[in-house]
Subunit: 578 residues, 2 copies
């Protein structure tokens, strides 16, 4: 991973590429690399779909090695959804394969001269870029079927669906999983629209003949990795809860805590939660011949994913994540797992962020376009997005645009990005993260649900403002660092509670890069990247007024606890004072 592939999509006669040494970016991976490149090379006031924006695709620092859980890929740009910097990350196979191909990043830059669509093929021998308008309008599933026919099923793909081609702000970038299905997505912030604006439909990665990346100190690395894996196996969340029920184990937990946003954030408990919980989902998968315990990439030892099948045992989609089940489920008053799985499949196929789409459908329901609870209506609305009708284009641009177009006041977004599956009034720490994250509302940016609800990494009363800023700050710093390693964020459960597991991670990174690392190095990396991102956002025009939750969350009390968001503006403004 000592080189960067730059593709100039604006070159005369079609895209050209050059492979450069990593140079000044050496030592950075994942989010640290995408955010550093974006901050350094993209003018903060440029149009997100214009010539000057860049799409940066970077595996993590450890991706492609034998390190467990190191399969996350980061995709960064100026976001068409938030107007600020964006790093969206995803599991799937691409990070490991790209790492083994030796690329620290792929950078798509420039502005296409016409509307020809291109595909990129990368293997050990080099890079090929070819026009292929036959791919136009293809859903990710059909697209990947074509790839399989042409390249076999051992490659990994990075692609966009029709939503990305239409440059919708809710468009994702799809990453294929171990079965070469386009089920993993860098979902948030419209990264797919930026890929679409570069007219690159597909990147095929083939690491045949490429060795696993090796550590500077192989023995120490192997030992640390072993201890790290033991730690993950030992912790109840990563060792038991997530493997058994997937992330959807949270439906009952968050609903019980009264923080489950229901009917467009109108109440904190959903009567139908039991019907769509992780427990029900796992049982359904088991009974039908699916699989509730499955990894999204090779090297995963948590295996929080699964295979969701229909009543006939036929594959529908990967096991929908908790946030997806919530977004298309309780947030829209829908308690039908099959409908939710279909919506997840459609989002993956069209190339859409499930969180943004579920929140958008919720806003559309509030606007009267459909009734809360009407699963068929929700499916029809998402179909519109795939077709790119006028209504579809509204919805495909996310909750904020949909609220604006239909004159809706209650729109659960921060910096234009939809809130995920935790109501910030009943989980106030996550509210601080939503408000202050450089990414817009994003639970993964500082998952305060840990100490607020799960009792992981300490305990902070979820309903009170006290201590939430400190909690969120520490988590945001740690997360930023983890997002740079290529590690799955779920390792956080174990490293927050088990100092020896955190130590094993630090040792593993140190052994890999051949430098003694300390916990402080990790914290300093997180701080430094966050600061870079924050400065980009300020230069792009975001201000402290953008570090706020929507006004209704400070006025409208959430049942059952009847709480409003109580962290003061002054406290929020302290988040970056460290």
């Amino acid at each position: 991973m000592d080189k960067i592939l730059r593709i100039d999509v604006g070159a005369a006669g079609g895209p050209s590429f050059r492979i450069e040494p990593i140079g000044a970016y050496a030592g950075l991976g994942g989010r640290a690399l995408t955010s550093t490149i974006v901050a350094k090379e993209v003018p903060p006031l440029c149009h997100p779909l214009g010539e000057d924006n860049k799409l940066v695709i970077a595996p993590g620092l450890l991706s492609g090695s034998a390190a467990a859980m190191s399969g996350r890929i980061s995709i960064g740009c100026k976001s068409p959804l938030t107007g600020g910097i964006k790093e969206a990350n995803s599991g799937g196979q691409a990070a490991q394969v790209l790492g083994r191909l030796g690329y620290a990043a792929i950078v798509l830059e420039g502005k296409p001269q016409n509307d020809t669509l291109y595909k990129v093929f990368i293997n050990k021998d080099g890079v090929k870029i070819a026009p292929d308008n036959s791919l136009k309008g293809l859903g990710n599933y059909d697209l990947i079927d074509k790839v399989k026919a042409e390249y076999g099923d051992k490659v990994a793909c990075i692609s966009i669906g029709p939503a990305g081609e239409m440059k919708m702000s809710a468009a994702s970038v799809a990453i294929t999983d171990m079965e070469m299905r386009p089920t993993r997505h860098a979902g948030r912030g419209g990264v797919g629209a930026v890929m679409g604006s570069k007219n690159i439909k597909l990147i095929v990665l083939d690491d045949a003949g490429c060795p696993m990346r090796s550590a500077a100190d192989p023995e120490a690395f192997k030992e640390a990795n072993k201890n790290f894996v033991q730690g993950l196996k030992k912790h109840p969340v990563t060792g038991q809860g997530l493997p058994a029920y997937g992330t959807n184990v949270l439906t009952n937990v968050i609903n019980e805590a009264g923080g489950y946003p229901t009917n467009n954030f109108s109440t904190g408990r959903f009567a139908g939660a039991g019907k769509i919980s992780g427990e029900t989902q796992a049982q359904t998968e088991q009974e039908r011949g699916g699989d509730p315990t499955h990894g999204c990439h090779k090297g995963c030892v948590i295996r929080c994913s699964g295979i969701y099948v229909d009543k006939n045992g036929k594959f529908v989609t990967k096991q929908p994540e908790y946030e997806t089940v919530w977004a298309h489920g309780g947030n829209c008053g829908i308690d039908d797992l099959d409908a939710i799985a279909l919506l997840d499949r459609m989002d993956d196929d069209f190339g859409l962020d499930t969180i943004e789409m579920g929140a958008t459908i919720g806003v559309a329901m509030e606007a009267g376009l459909a009734k809360f609870g009407d699963a068929q209506a929700a499916i029809e609305l998402v179909k519109e997005v795939g077709k790119g009708t006028h209504l579809g284009r509204i919805l495909g641009n996310g909750a904020a645009v949909t609220g604006k177009v239909f004159g809706v006041e209650r729109v659960p977004v921060v910096k234009g990005q939809a809130m995920p599956a935790y109501d910030p009034r009943a989980v106030q720490g996550i509210g601080v993260t939503y408000a202050t994250s450089t990414m817009g509302a994003d639970h993964t940016a500082g998952y305060a649900v840990t100490a607020n609800v799960l009792g992981v990494g300490g305990n902070v009363n979820a309903l009170k403002p006290e201590g939430q800023v400190e909690l969120s700050r520490n988590l945001q710093i740690a997360t930023t660092a983890i997002d740079s390693t290529g590690m799955c964020l779920f390792i956080a459960f174990a490293i927050l509670d088990q100092p020896e597991t955190f130590g094993a991670l630090v040792d593993m990174i140190g052994a890999f890069v051949g430098k003694k690392m300390t916990a402080d190095d990790v914290v300093n990396l997180g701080k430094s990247v966050l600061k870079t991102e924050r400065e980009f956002n300020l230069a792009a025009g975001l201000s402290k007024a953008d570090d706020r939750l929507p006004a209704f969350m400070k006025k409208e009390a959430l049942a059952p606890h009847n709480v409003v968001f109580g962290v003061s503006d002054e406290e929020l403004d302290q988040l970056y004072n460290w």
Copy 2:
């Protein structure tokens, strides 16, 4: 004008009202009053369509008196289009009538409890508010016909069309003219959407039995007014150009200067300009039995408006303003005056800002929804807005939303508000006003076209950055003061060039309020109101990054002069340093 009418639309059982003494707001009128009330009473981070926003309707300080040109009414709120403070002003009869009724302002506040639509009737005996769902969905023309049938044709009306009811961000508030037609509009910033969010469709003002407002020193006032009128008659723009050809006299002038934005700001000259110029328009009106020289309110001595009729001599619309002719004309490649007049009529009827709509159609054409130059397609697109189809809701929310939904990069807006009829690359002073005005892109906020193109109030090279910030700053300050008096902005031509006419204005204000006034008092008022507005915007989340033109205007050279916008960010940031 010593009282304020406050209507609480959220009261149990329907809107209630109270009439308060003007109190701390005494001495303020027009924009000074609307902006001061909004800044003091509206939380900057509230939702523009929510409970906490207020719509403030205020005649000018001199409105309702015998002062010539004092018929402007200001409408203020937090704007759903820009997210900042907004004052949109309009001619027509309402300012004079409201002034004579003694109200310094009407304030609509609160949040309706249901979707019942209301009308308000105000006369010398008091205020009546009545539900009237029969008005739902009515265009302004049909609405005013109903008013005539019920109240006669001596009243003045303030109303919204379907666009306002649908809370579209391009929705205007209509004001009836001397013939009681809904042809004058407080167009910009979505003030109509805020009125719509309060469920007030119509305000009928009847000043029967109310005397003209009298000056503190009637003799001095009369003398000053006489001198003021003489000055207006003497100046070539206010005495000849505007009466003869209306504001559309500018089409040939700006086109000749190479600053006429054509085909969505793609070039600075329009081949069809001669077919839609003020000269052609006046001749057409004359030949068909219309009227090229007509006032929009009683007491106007410039009479820049006119009556546009069809080939059979039947009334179509008031003479479309230059900015309207440009927006629906050259900006969309359309050179058909009858089509433009029809679009103007439709905008007035639906209650839409003509500048925002023309710019939006231009963006839609860039997105491929219609071809530049296709007048019939433009008409069909505006019909969609009136019907409130999904496409119509996109377009009715303005150019920025339309650009976002269709993934268009070249969107000519600042702070979300569409640029008017002067390309900021070829008229760099107006570019400074667009960029830095508290209102978003707005030519009236600091009309630097004067010294840049017209040779009024000095000469500053339009194509160079030098001197533009100072020019725009001084004009913005002066304009803010004029907008507070109720005076039509067109008096600026005469007062900029003729010190004695400016002196007459200052004397007239002084004689009216009974206090010796100086030019410094006027300047200080302007500065103070601008500062208030600026502070609101900063608190609402706008930052210096919002004081910028779209990126493409700094990169894409405009023919025929092949210039980009050259005023640096550092210079723009000096505008409020006075």
